[in-house]
């Protein structure tokens, strides 16, 4: 019960997420999806983004400035945030097993996952200086 029903809106949202690596916010998703679905409502975008996150077909990333962004790449990976342009990048880097072991060793409980964000300046912004 409470089974998932197909919806064209959700498919468009999913497909948009799968074609971008820009880690869009809900509002950005809304703007893009409206091109194919002019009458979609922002609430529908929110509901589906959260739903996709719940069923593991998207990842929700909250950056320190409070912005909530979505990622269609669901395999565990780290991110880099450019502190100049606020762009968020996927890092093509293995998730560290040793850091999990270390964390487990110093936390009196269980640890099942972790996330990390690296802060820096992207090559694009480095090029811009001077």
């Amino acid at each position: 019960m409470a089974s998932l029903k197909y919806s064209r809106q959700r498919e468009v949202i999913k497909s948009y997420l799968s074609t971008t690596d820009s880690h869009p916010t809900a509002d950005t998703v809304y703007m893009h999806v409206r091109e194919q679905f002019p009458h979609i409502s922002l609430g529908t975008v929110y509901r589906n983004l959260n739903l996709l996150t719940d069923i593991g077909e998207a990842i929700k990333i909250t950056t320190p400035d409070g912005a909530v962004r979505f990622d269609g790449v669901t395999s565990p990976h780290y991110h880099a945030l450019c502190t100049e342009c606020e762009r968020l990048f996927d890092l093509d880097m293995n998730v560290s097993e040793s850091i999990i072991e270390e964390a487990r060793a110093c936390f009196p409980g269980t640890i099942h996952s972790h996330s990390a964000i690296f802060y820096g300046v992207c090559s694009h912004c480095l090029g811009k200086k001077h």
Copy 2:
């Protein structure tokens, strides 16, 4: 110019942060600080928490559910979030240098810092089960 002026309110906020490791939200800080300062306004709490963060006397941590929490411990450290009770813990664990090196190796830009949160179940919640 725009120099910092003493305020008793800010001192009380700072002192509260220094005596707790509960990583309170702005609202929680507000509630506690009001015991000593019944007429303090929530805006003052927000302004000072952000100010303290800006001058490096506090750290702002945003958890995936969007909650913004503050930490009076300003030395770099990792956190563990209990997914049952939502409590946030400081991890007494060295910040990994190797993970920074790895990240630098695969990001075409500079990296100056990073943060990590581990997700799991704390000992208190583990004890509660069954």
